[in-house]
């Protein structure tokens, strides 16, 4: 049995839930299938993504990283913000903007910070993690990384998070986690958090060298920049064995109000 924090739609406070290995959830003394529950976003802190942190991602750009506009490979972690308008919970609709044929899915783990982390060492970094959740960092496909990709990454509903935040004690080693992305039930991508340029402890140390991560902030250690595409009508699931399974439908934006079907 694992302990997680979750938020139900229509009930603002975070609550403690128990989860069994089959993904069933104990709520108010009753066991239910996780998919039956109307989940809301289980986090409220800032969400920061990390660019090009799966091994091979930077190399895939080839010689371009030595030419303008990049000129050189990055030295420090390259972060981006997934702002509040992008956050939606399990089951809510990912709006597909008019004129965009397909969106890129960015399945990953959300590292939820457990206590304020400022200038922490790599050796101590894991002790600052409060829990883990599942995140889909959705983008309009883009292959230029020179300017912040606000129009591509910060649209409404472009950051499903959930269903819950699993307590950190249940994950012995985050590098052993695997992220599977399924579109309409078919496995499209499988990535291991063991394949990072900067390991999770190294990343936390390098990020907190220049900015404090507060309790509740969420750090995405890596997202595939070439993840699978999905279109309106598709359903995408991000599965992280031992953490959770996040599923969301893609719906034309004109049919969505604030993550819900019109």
């Amino acid at each position: 049995m694992s302990i997680a924090l979750a938020r139900l739609r229509g009930s603002a406070p975070l609550r403690r839930v128990e989860i069994d290995p089959a993904g069933r959830v104990q709520l108010d003394g009753q066991w239910r299938a996780g998919a039956e529950i109307a989940w809301d976003v289980p986090t409220s802190g800032g969400v920061y993504g990390t660019l090009h942190n799966f091994r091979g991602a930077l190399e895939a750009l080839g010689n371009a990283i030595h030419e303008p506009p990049y000129v050189a490979p990055p030295k420090a972690p390259v972060l981006y913000v997934k702002p509040a308008n992008t956050w939606i919970g399990y089951g809510s609709a990912i709006p597909v903007p008019a004129g965009v044929p397909a969106l890129r899915m960015g399945g990953t783990v959300g590292i939820v910070i457990g206590r304020a982390a400022s200038r922490v060492s790599e050796a101590q970094a894991l002790s600052f993690i409060g829990g883990y959740t599942v995140v889909n960092d959705v983008s309009v496909p883009h292959d230029n990384f020179y300017r912040p990709a606000i129009r591509e990454k910060c649209r409404d509903g472009f950051c499903p998070i959930g269903p819950w935040v699993l307590a950190a004690e249940h994950v012995k080693d985050p590098a052993a986690l695997t992220v599977r992305t399924l579109v309409n039930g078919k496995l499209q991508l499988e990535k291991s958090l063991g394949e990072l340029v900067r390991s999770i402890p190294r990343l936390i140390a390098d990020v907190t060298a220049f900015m404090t991560l507060a309790e509740g902030d969420v750090l995405l250690p890596a997202v595939s920049e070439t993840g699978p595409l999905a279109s309106a009508g598709d359903t995408v699931a991000i599965e992280v064995a031992g953490v959770g399974r996040l599923e969301n439908p893609l719906v034309n934006q004109a049919e969505v109000i604030a993550g819900e079907l019109r």
């Binding site: 660019l51 030295k75 972060l79 900015m211």
Partner: protein, 255 residues
Amino acid sequence: MKRARVAYAGAVHAATEFEGRVRLADGRVLDESQVVWLPPIQPRTIFAVGLNYADHAKELAFGAQKAPLVFLKGANTIAGHRAKTWRPGDAAYMHYECELAVVIGRYGRKIPRDQAYDYVAGYTVANDYAIRDYLENYYRPNLRVKNRDGATLLGPWLVDAADVPNPMNLDLRTSINGKQTQKGSTRDMIFDVPFLIEYLSEFMTLAPGDIILTGTPEGVVDVQPGDEVVTEVDGIGRLTNFLIGDDAFASQARA
């Protein structure tokens, strides 16, 4: 009305400006040095616009932009009037940026330009420091340059939109230790406030507490520990910041 959030006598208070002083909601009137100034709002999403004055873009060797250069910030970087900001000793070039900041007051999507001001709650002054040594060309300006702890100052006041008849004609300036180093006017923005609201709300929902830092004119120069930097926008406020160095920072830090 000019509103502030201050800490005084162990509590956080809503305050308003009263004859140049600070009036708490309970009526007590205090000098500006008696209170700890907090950012006048607790922002939701923090937008910043780069290269939004033709002269500053030229100063940084950029041509005119077709679309605004927008980047986002996190809550860690926000601090208030009279804050102390750390200038790392290994940096050769850290500069202020005096900016008009626009606070959104209403939830809105696809806001047309001619209705944009209806969505503004008010205005404040921002000083958006950058450390150019850390600039890299991925999602530039990268967070290591622009999202450092306590290096984005807001305040002192949130000025009600109704009290700012034309935000696009305000003089702004910066001084270091009393000597003016930067000067400009919001009328020289490339993308004005209504444009920015229309542009952002076309692809994302704006909500109360969102704040847009609208960019800075030319005249940015390096600052040093010990400097007092004042960024000012006429009719909005005069925002003071103090730079501290590694010594002052490290002497207070314990592992």
